[in-house]
Amino acid sequence: MSNQATSLQTIQRWMQDALMFPGQTSGESTTGLINPSSRQTAEQRLAVYQRSYYLRLQKCMREQFPALCHALGEQLFNDFSSDYLQSKPSVSHTLYELGQRFPDHLEQTRPDAGEKPEQREQWIDFMVDLARFEYQVFSLFDAPGHEGKPFAAHNTADEILQLQPCFALGDYRFPVAWYYHQVRQENQPKIPAMQRSLIALLRKDFLTHTFQVSFTEYQFLSLLSQGSSVESALQRVAEQTELPVEQLRDSWSSREGARARWIDAGFFIAGS
C-alpha cells in the first residue's frame, strides 16, 4: 500500500479478502492500513475479525444443521462448513439462508464425485440427504403458513381441497427424518442403511410435522402440489401405478383413508 489515502472501496475489498482468506493477507498491507494499539500489532487487531468470521458463521451452520453436525462430529462438520463458507460465502441479508447451498456444495465437492454412482460412498449420500432434509425443515419453520386461518374440514368437498401453503415433499435415499428425530430426542442413532424414504412435511400451529408416505401417496401429493384436482390426481396415479382407480378412490375416501387422516393433520385448506 502507498502512503496516499487508500480509497474506501479498496479498503473494503482488502478487508473482506482478509476475513475470508486470512492466510493470504500480507503483513505489509495490514500494517499499512491498520494502526497498532499499545497492546496489539496491526496483524493481531485484524485477527480479531478474522478469527470471529468463521467461528461466528460455523456456529450458525451448526444451528441450521444440528443432526448433520451430530452425524459428522463437530470438528468434521466445522471443516466442511468452513470449506463451504469460503467457496460460497453468504450473499443474503438474512442468516436464515446461510445454509441454503450447503447440500449442493457437499454433493459437488464429495471426494468420490468422479466415481460411478454405484461405486460412491454411501455415508456421503446419507450426509447430503440429511443436509437436504434439515434445510427443508429449517425453511418450513418460517415459510408463509396458514396459522390463524381455517383448515379444511371433513365435509369440505374434494373439488376445493388444496394443499396448505406450508407444505413440502421429500424423496430421500435414507430414513433421514427418522435420524433427525432420533437426534432431537438426544439418542445416539447410528447411520442407517440405505432405504428410500418418502416424506411429507407441513407446518401447523407453528410446529413442523413430518409424515412418512407411501410411493402411491407421494405420487398423489406431488400431483396435488402441481395443481391437479383430487379426481384428476387419482386417475393419473392409477395410470402410473396400474392400480384400479376404484381402489385408489377407496383408499382416499374410506373412513380410515388418507383423506380423513390428512385433513385431521392439516394437509389441506378449502380453496375457492
Partner: protein
C-alpha cells in the same frame, strides 16, 4: 434528496423516550406471549422478522399490539461501496409499517462488498471520502423509508491509519449532513476506546447528544490485550459509570439492554436492565471496581447465532 432540518422534522423520534426496553429474542418468545411482562418496549432485529411467514412474524405482531417496537438492523451495510439493496429496504419499510416501529436503526458500518455479506459489523475508515459516501446513502435511505435513520456507533477492534477524524466528529458531521439520529451504545464506547487506546471520557465529551434517541447497554469480554463486544453477560461496572454520565446528558432517551449470547431467562435479563435505574439519579456515584482479570481469549465478536432459531425444537415426527 433533501437534508431534513432537524427542527422541522416532526417525527415520532422527537417524542419522549420509550423507557427501558429489551431485545426481542427467540428464546424469550414463549415467556413473553404467556406472561406479557411489564416492560416498556422491545427492540427487534429487523432481519429476523422481515422475511418471516412463521412464528417470528406472528410473535412480533402480537408484541407490537401491546408494546412499542423499534427495529434494529444488522444488514443495511450503510458504509459499503456496494449499491444499496432496495429489495432489503422495501422489506424493512413494510415491516416498520406493519409493527408501527417507533424508529428504524442500524450501524455505522459495512457488512460486505461485491455482493457478499460477512454478517459482521465492519468498521469504516473515518475519512472525508467515507463521510461523503455514507451521508449520500443515508439521505437515500431516509428518502426511501420516509423517516430519519438512526445509526449506532459500532464496537471496533481496529482503527485505520487513513482515518482523519474521531468517531464522534464523524457522527456529528453525518448528523449535520443528513439529519439522521443516533443510537449511542455505551458499551461500544468502552470497547472501542479500550481497543484503540483512546479515552472514553473524551469520546463522550465530543458526542452530539442532541441527536441521540436511544442508548444501548450490553456486556463484554475482556481478553487482556483487547475487549470483545460479546453481549453475553451482565453490564460491566465501568460501562454503568459511563451510562450514568450519558443518561444525565441525554435527557431520558430510550434505553435498551442487549443480551445475545448465553441468554438467561427473561426475568434475569429484565432485572439486569432495571439496574439502569440506579444510575439515572443525579449524584448516585458508585465506585468502579478495578478492571477485572481477563477471563477469555476465545470470544467471538458480534455474535449472531442468536439470530438463528432452534428449529429442531419445533419439529414433530408423526406415526400415523
Amino acid at each position: 434528496m433533501a437534508v431534513p432540518e432537524r427542527n422541522a422534522v416532526k417525527h415520532r423520534l422527537d417524542r419522549p423516550g420509550l423507557g427501558l426496553g429489551l431485545g426481542l429474542r427467540n428464546c424469550h418468545f414463549e415467556h413473553i406471549v404467556s406472561n406479557w411482562p411489564e416492560i416498556d418496549w422491545f427492540e427487534a432485529i429487523s432481519e429476523n422478522f422481515m422475511d418471516s411467514g412463521g412464528r417470528p412474524r406472528w410473535i412480533i405482531n402480537q408484541v407490537a399490539e401491546r408494546y412499542p417496537v423499534v427495529l434494529h438492523g444488522v444488514s443495511m451495510s450503510i458504509g459499503s461501496t456496494d449499491p444499496l439493496n432496495f429489495s432489503y429496504l422495501s422489506k424493512l419499510k413494510a415491516l416498520a409499517k406493519e409493527v408501527n416501529a417507533a424508529w428504524v436503526s442500524d450501524h455505522l458500518c459495512w457488512t460486505g462488498v461485491m455482493g457478499i455479506n460477512s454478517h459482521d459489523l465492519l468498521p469504516v475508515p473515518l475519512t472525508e471520502e467515507a463521510l461523503q459516501h455514507i451521508s449520500a446513502r443515508v439521505l437515500q435511505v431516509q428518502d426511501y423509508l420516509e423517516q430519519p435513520l438512526v445509526l449506532e456507533n459500532p464496537s471496533t477492534y481496529i482503527s485505520f491509519s487513513d482515518s482523519q477524524m474521531s468517531e464522534p466528529e464523524f457522527l456529528t458531521e453525518l448528523v449535520n449532513l443528513t439529519g439522521c439520529r443516533l443510537l449511542l451504545d455505551v458499551n461500544n464506547v468502552f470497547v472501542s476506546c479500550f481497543n484503540s487506546d483512546t479515552d472514553p471520557q473524551a469520546y463522550l465529551d465530543a458526542f452530539p447528544y442532541d441527536s441521540v434517541v436511544q442508548l444501548h447497554l450490553a456486556g463484554h469480554q475482556d481478553c487482556g490485550t483487547h475487549i470483545i463486544d460479546t453481549h453475553d453477560g451482565p453490564v460491566r461496572q465501568e460501562v454503568w459509570e459511563l451510562f450514568r454520565q450519558v443518561w444525565a446528558r441525554c435527557n431520558g432517551v430510550a434505553t435498551l439492554l442487549e443480551w445475545d449470547g448465553n441468554i438467561p431467562a427473561f426475568d434475569a435479563c429484565h432485572a439486569e436492565l432495571l439496574k439502569a435505574r440506579n444510575y439515572m439519579e443525579a449524584g448516585h456515584i458508585q465506585t468502579a471496581d478495578p478492571r477485572p482479570q481477563p477471563e477469555s481469549t476465545g470470544s467471538i465478536s458480534n455474535p449472531v447465532d442468536f439470530l438463528v432459531p432452534q428449529v429442531m425444537d419445533s419439529s414433530v415426527m408423526e406415526h400415523r
